[in-house]
């Protein structure tokens, strides 16, 4: 078990003929992910590393003997909404890797995904990986090992940093989902926590948060300890961040009193969640709880 994706997940890569799409389709495939098709309008009939390319998702789905159930999009920010809409309209779940997607476009995609009863992840995210089974995204696969700790994170590289310590300490992961660094997450912290709660393989959860928004506070007050019964360990980035400045991630900004690490840490500690002071300490805290 795992959350959202596994060895049976069948993936279409949107924007597969672009530089990023091509490189990551190949890496996903060599990780073991079933990349069954690529889509780039106007490039039908081509193939990329043996993956057939189609004009549209519908055309791909009609041709494939077993259709795909997820897409991963590597498209420019001004096409990200259109790509996600195409995926959702065709009945597929979708991951938006792209950074710099306008927030109103994300809101639109969110409403559509909700209406269709489908899942979307991102934007501005590394994707999701179920170690040893499937990688739908851009994370370096060799950092991850299979096990039973679920990881949900707002940051890509910081996840690799923390997961590499987990893996070195012999702590494997059920799935790791990067929900993205934007103000609006198509799969948000709450949904990811609920996914891990429902997954029998996941025994513990690592939450990697950062400044901006109040998702961590909400999770601490409304979910952890009641709806989320599995033990949670957290790390929060941006303890020393100044107010009113966006630090790299569009969602990483402290406005007024809201969104500070201090406020998140206080809420999490009150919910009984140990908060690591430094990235490598996460592995120690996970060990202590298991």
């Amino acid at each position: 078990m795992s959350i959202l994706v596994n060895k049976d997940t069948r993936v279409i890569v949107q924007g597969i003929t672009g530089r990023e799409g091509r490189a990551h389709a190949a890496q996903m495939q060599s990780y073991g992910t079933q990349v069954v098709a690529g889509v780039t309008p106007g490039k039908t009939g081509q193939s990329v590393d043996g993956i057939p390319v189609f004009d549209s998702i519908r055309a791909a789905q009609e041709t494939l003997t077993k259709p795909a159930d997820w897409t991963v999009g590597f498209v420019p920010a001004n096409f990200a909404r259109a790509a996600a809409v195409e995926a959702l309209e065709a009945g597929l779940n979708t991951i938006v890797i792209t950074e710099h997607v306008p927030v109103h476009d994300t809101l639109f995609v969110h409403e559509l995904a909700q209406a269709k009863g489908l899942r979307a992840i991102g934007p501005n995210c590394p994707g999701i990986i179920t170690p040893g089974q499937a990688k739908l995204g851009i994370m370096p696969g060799d950092v991850f090992t299979a096990g039973n700790v679920g990881v949900v994170s707002r940051s890509g590289t910081l996840t690799y940093e923390i997961v590499s310590h987990l893996s070195k300490s012999g702590i494997g992961q059920s799935s790791c989902v990067g929900i993205g660094g934007d103000p609006v997450n198509l799969t948000n912290l709450e949904e990811a926590l609920r996914d891990f709660e429902a997954d029998p393989q996941t025994k513990q959860i690592v939450l990697i948060g950062e400044i901006g928004g109040t998702a961590e506070e909400y999770a601490a007050r409304e979910l952890i300890g009641s709806i989320i019964t599995k033990p949670v360990v957290a790390f929060l980035a941006g303890r020393t961040a100044p107010r009113g400045k966006t630090l790299g991630h569009a969602g990483a900004i402290i406005t007024g009193a809201a969104g500070t690490v201090a406020s998140k840490e206080k809420a999490l500690r009150q919910a009984g969640v140990p908060v690591a002071r430094m990235p490598k300490e996460v592995a120690e805290l996970v060990k202590r709880l298991s």
Binding site: L107, I138, R154, N188, I208, A237, G238, P242, K245, G256
Partner: protein, 368 residues
């Protein structure tokens, strides 16, 4: 991107929303002329992107006799380090009640949210204390209309018209926040938008050319970094920082702080950083004043650590860097990256905390 009040009011006007008559002026003499045109009585408002202008003397009621002198003073007033380049000169509106209205992004609910209060002209926190704040998801459901109208008062048709136009403005200009504080209800039961605080989504500026043209950038170094395609914020300390991935760079700043050093900046070279991008990053980071050390923290993923190391090695040779350089490499390409740097006599670290402590120490030594 935050718009100045008069820029926001231009959007209100373009959307057919009622705003006071006024003029934007750039000198005290122009201010006096504007006051005369408005009938001899007016309000002068400084135009800086910061809050609480009224409490800090940035808004003055004047007549035609006092206009020029007050305007000259306002041009000299500095709020949060900003002087006003323009003044907005506006007619005085007869008000029955001041209200608070905002439409903002609700990150948790993933929708727009309307916020209303009967207490206007004070901060939303104070408004919440005085009169309470009504929060309603947008678009407003028919069943919620009554609640909204009860707070707003006045003519129902005017209220509905205003809310519709404001929502349209938010969507068509990619706004993340439109705050009207105060919103005035006139004695006739109409509405007048007396102030404007508008934030436009930076990521949507490509399709908002009128607004992009107004763009006010940060410091010179922040501008250079923006053009080079990485994200950079000055923080004022002595240890220059370069890293990959926003979260990791934030964690790096935190690690330096724990080690007792003040970071000079946030700099995320971004995913897939190549050698030349790293070179530019080094240039920008070291161009800051008072730098005592450079700390580079890379976890190789899509950004290969050896690519960054190569760029760093080239930059350090070309730039004649005089401060100590501390490099931490991990992940993809770390081993090759270390070889490249060690050939040049640059020590590398595996552990982030250890590297941060060394950077802090070296910066302290350099300061003495």
């Amino acid at each position: 991107m935050d718009l100045l009040e008069y820029q926001g009011k231009d959007l209100y006007r373009a959307s057919g929303l009622p705003v006071p008559h006024g003029f934007v002026v750039s000198s005290a003499v122009e201010a006096k002329d504007a006051v005369e045109k408005l009938g001899g009585q007016a309000v002068l408002k400084i135009q800086v992107a910061t809050g609480h202008r009224g409490q800090r003397g940035g808004i003055q009621k004047v007549d035609k006799e006092s206009a020029e002198e007050r305007a000259a003073e306002l041009f000299e007033l500095k709020l949060d380090g900003h002087k006003s380049k323009q003044l907005l000169v506006e007619e005085i509106v007869s008000i029955e009640q001041e209200l608070y209205l905002a439409i903002m992004l609700d990150r948790q609910e993933r929708s727009l949210q309307l916020m209303l209060s009967r207490a206007g002209g004070v901060s939303v926190e104070e408004a919440a204390e005085q009169e309470g704040v009504l929060r309603i998801p947008m678009p407003i459901a028919a069943s919620e209309h009554k609640k909204v109208l009860r707070v707003l008062g006045g003519k129902e048709s005017a209220a509905i018209d205003m809310l519709g136009k404001l929502e349209q403005l938010v969507r068509s200009y990619d706004a993340l926040l439109v705050e009207v504080n105060p919103l005035a209800r006139t004695t006739q039961g109409d509405f007048m938008l007396l102030d404007s605080k508008i934030t436009i989504d930076d990521n949507a500026l490509y399709r908002q050319p009128e607004i992009a043209a107004l763009q006010m950038l940060g410091t010179k170094d922040e501008q250079a970094a923006h053009e080079a395609g990485f994200s950079f914020v000055e923080l004022g300390g002595t240890v220059a920082v370069i890293g990959n991935g926003a979260g990791l760079v934030m964690a790096t700043l935190d690690a330096l702080d724990r080690a007792g050093a003040k970071p000079a900046n946030f700099l995320d070279v971004g995913g897939g950083a190549q050698a030349d991008k790293t070179r530019k990053a080094v240039q920008v980071a070291l161009a800051q004043p008072h730098i005592k050390a450079l700390f580079v923290n890379i976890f190789g993923g899509i950004t290969r650590a050896d690519e960054v190391a190569r760029g760093l090695a080239e930059a350090l040779l070309a730039l004649d860097v005089s401060v100590p350089v501390i490099v931490r490499l991990a992940g993809n390409g770390a081993a090759t990256g270390k070889e490249i740097l060690e050939k040049q006599g640059i020590a590398t670290f595996d552990d982030m905390e250890e590297a941060a402590q060394t950077a802090a120490q070296k910066a302290k030594q350099a300061q003495q």
